[in-house]
């Protein structure tokens, strides 16, 4: 959308105004996330830039909130919890979701749209409602305030993403490949692991990443189901914001932003690999 050489003054003005507007919107999107990074190095216990920080005085910056984060057992415990719960529920969600996606993509699947609707419902139902329902039901069967309860709940919330991404990958899947494999004498298991799996792997991994981030970032269900022992990072941040607002939260937030950048990069690489494997993009 470059400016054509014959553009008049009106068009030129509009062209630059439009770009300026877009720049403002992009700033709106990115500024809050970038602002917390320098703030987390603040030596004072405030959420604001001190005059020392604005003068780039090295004494105004410190790592004390990061030290605080590492030395606080509540936080380190919550980190352990977050990873345990997220990894366990990701594995469960990926296995269950991939199998179901394979079934849903078969041409003979009965009641496909109904099934699809039910299976992805955890993604559509507002979290507060899922959390309320699970709270009653899981307390009745003794699963509230247990790791198992939260892992199961997070698995349910994560599976729709796996189902959707893997089904989407299977849409572009050439079924003659699995027929060829069967024709050459492979049994269904071998066909799955040697032919289908390598091709749908990008979809499976990105589904797994979605499931992971869903669990890792989830706080509403944790608020209702978790006891003190099962507190995750977002749960800890929640009480941090509500009770004693300290820049430790900003330090944690900065670390989480770094993690999301890593996730974003992984997904982008996967997307490129997937396109290359299916021959959708040259190079």
């Amino acid at each position: 959308m470059a400016l054509p050489p014959y553009a008049g003054p009106l068009e030129t003005t509009w062209y630059f105004t439009f770009r300026f507007l877009c720049a403002c919107i992009f700033l709106f999107l990115i500024t809050p996330i970038l602002v917390i990074i320098p703030l987390s190095f603040n030596i004072e216990p405030y959420f604001t830039f001190t005059s020392g920080m604005l003068k780039f005085d090295p004494d105004a910056y410190s790592l004390r909130w990061y030290e605080d984060f590492i030395n606080n057992t509540q936080w380190t415990h919550s980190v352990k919890n977050s990873f345990t719960i997220a990894i366990a529920s990701t594995i469960l969600a990926t296995v269950l979701g991939t199998l179901a996606a394979l079934g849903l993509s078969k041409p003979h699947m009965p009641y496909r749209s109904l099934m699809m609707g039910l299976l992805i419902s955890p993604m559509i139902v507002p979290l507060i409602i899922s959390a309320a329902g699970m709270y009653f039901f899981y307390s009745n069967i003794g699963l509230s305030q247990t790791y198992l309860g939260i892992i199961l709940a997070h698995t349910a919330l994560g599976t729709p993403f796996v189902v959707i991404t893997v089904t989407a990958t299977l849409v572009g899947f050439d079924h003659s490949l699995s027929r060829a494999s069967a024709n050459l004498g492979a049994n269904p298991t071998t066909t799955f692991f040697k032919v289908i799996m390598p091709l749908i792997l990008p979809g499976v991994i990105s589904g797994a990443l979605f499931a992971f981030i869903t669990s890792f970032d989830e706080v509403v269900v944790v608020l209702f189901l978790a006891g003190f022992d099962q507190r995750t990072i977002p749960r800890q941040m929640w009480s941090g914001i509500r009770e004693q607002i300290s820049p430790t939260i900003l330090a944690v937030a900065t670390i989480l932003v770094m993690i999301s950048i890593a996730l974003l990069a992984t997904l982008e690489l996967l997307r490129r690999r997937g396109e290359k494997m299916r021959g959708m993009s040259p190079g």
Partner: protein, 420 residues
């Protein structure tokens, strides 16, 4: 199809069975195989998710308390015509129930339940239960009438009788600001007690506002991203995707740092002299805070579908319109915009669905003026413990989300939902 060519003749498969039958058999096998693959997840979702949700909706009509904990009174009230205070047998049954309930300490649940219908009933029930321990022999009617003045009130008895049935629509009535009056008619609550109708309306209004702001902000940047050369737009896409992938709580925290009265934005305003240091703007813990933070959080959900639709529009259409003499504005409105309507529709419904169910951000930055219906559900779940009402509010919210989702499915189709 096969019958058309071979009338009267049965086509046989290689093993001698009729082709139709053997084909059906193979189809059935395939169908079962597909079902077997889906079954584990289906069973899992059924037990971990669908049944809990149904259980919650059931709570919104469940009305076990009076029938179970006051069985004698419920029986005795069965034939009561509701025209005058009941006679002695009912009071005898009542004393028996109160005594039993006072021993098991369960009678408070009846009091709490009846209190939702009419305030003051809890103290009436609990104090009468306490006094009932001393009652030795009848006639019971005068004794009970002396226990609490509300027993002389005909409405007390109508409320009790109404709640002896195992199911109630009381919670739903309450959730839409209605109640049953003395003569058993459904009327609206007095003005000062109409909370939920307003809250539902406010939730819809806020969600609508957020959706509209999202369209206004997302349209230009999606257009820019879709019309730029790919290598630049991929870079700019990071500005949309990084917020999308950043933790919700991180973004909410970030907005607290930005918007609070000693925050970055207010500091900037004071620095540039827009406002005095003394009267900094209150941008957070109110409606403004909720709308700003939620718009930021939901904007990527609008940009991504819009971008993918705009990406498919060939630029030649606009050029054709321009070369046929339309001025750029008219060409844009009449040629380009209609083609992006499906993207706007998809993004809007997505953003709207997400925002009417939002809980975390309004709870943290909304203060009292910026809370939504989900916050009220959480309040009844955790603080007031009125679970029936929480269930009824939840079921109403769920109903509206499902209706919107059906619409979304019609417009976009869930198979076409793009992630990331």
């Amino acid at each position: 199809m096969a019958n058309g060519n071979t009338q009267g003749e049965v086509v046989l498969a290689a093993d001698g069975t009729p082709l139709k039958e053997s084909l059906n058999k193979a189809m059935r096998k395939n169908r079962i195989r597909a079902l077997m693959l889906v079954a584990p997840l289906f069973i899992f979702i059924l037990f971990s998710f669908l049944i809990p949700i149904l259980d919650m909706t059931f709570r919104s009509v469940d009305n076990w308390q009076v029938g179970t904990l006051m069985p004698n009174t419920s029986m005795a009230l069965k034939d009561w015509d509701g025209k005058a205070i009941p006679e002695e047998p009912v009071f005898e049954a009542l004393i028996a129930d109160l005594k039993a309930g006072a021993i098991t300490r369960e009678i408070g649940k009846v009091g709490t339940r009846l209190n939702y219908e009419k305030s003051g009933m809890r103290s009436m029930i609990t104090s009468s239960a306490r006094k009932s321990k001393k009652v030795k022999e009848g006639p019971y009617k005068p004794i009970v009438l002396k226990m609490h003045k509300k027993w002389k009130d005909l409405e007390t008895w109508t409320v009790i009788k109404r709640n002896t049935s195992a199911y109630t629509i009381g919670y739903y009535l309450n959730a839409v600001d209605l109640k049953i009056n003395k003569s058993g008619e459904i009327v609206s609550q007095p003005e000062n007690r109409q909370i939920y109708g307003k809250l539902f309306l406010r939730t819809f209004a806020i969600s609508m506002a957020i959706t509209i702001i999202c369209i206004i902000l997302a349209y230009p940047i999606s257009y820019l991203l879709a019309t730029m050369p790919l290598r630049y737009s991929n870079l700019l896409m990071i500005f949309v995707l990084l917020p999308f992938w950043t933790s919700l709580l991180v973004r909410t925290t970030a907005w607290i740092a930005m918007l609070q009265s000693q925050g970055v934005l207010n500091d900037l305003f004071v620095f540039f002299g827009f406002i005095d240091d003394a009267n900094r703007l209150q941008l957070i813990y109110n409606l403004t805070g909720t709308i700003i933070a939620m718009t930021h959080i939901l904007l990527p959900f609008m940009v991504l579908p819009l971008y993918s639709v705009m990406k498919t529009i060939p630029p030649t259409y606009m050029r054709a319109a321009l070369s046929l003499g339309a001025n750029p504005f008219v060409a844009f409105v009449r040629v380009y915009m209609p083609q992006t309507l499906s993207g706007i529709g998809a993004g809007s419904i997505l953003v709207f669905i997400l925002s009417i169910g939002y809980y975390i951000t309004p709870a943290l930055v909304g203060g009292t003026g910026g809370t939504l219906i989900s916050n009220q559900i959480a309040y009844h779940m955790q603080s007031s413990l009125n679970w029936g009402l929480a269930g009824a509010l939840g079921a109403l919210l769920l109903g509206s989300v499902l209706a919107l989702y059906t619409l979304y499915n019609k417009i976009v189709g869930i198979d076409n939902m793009k992630l990331g």
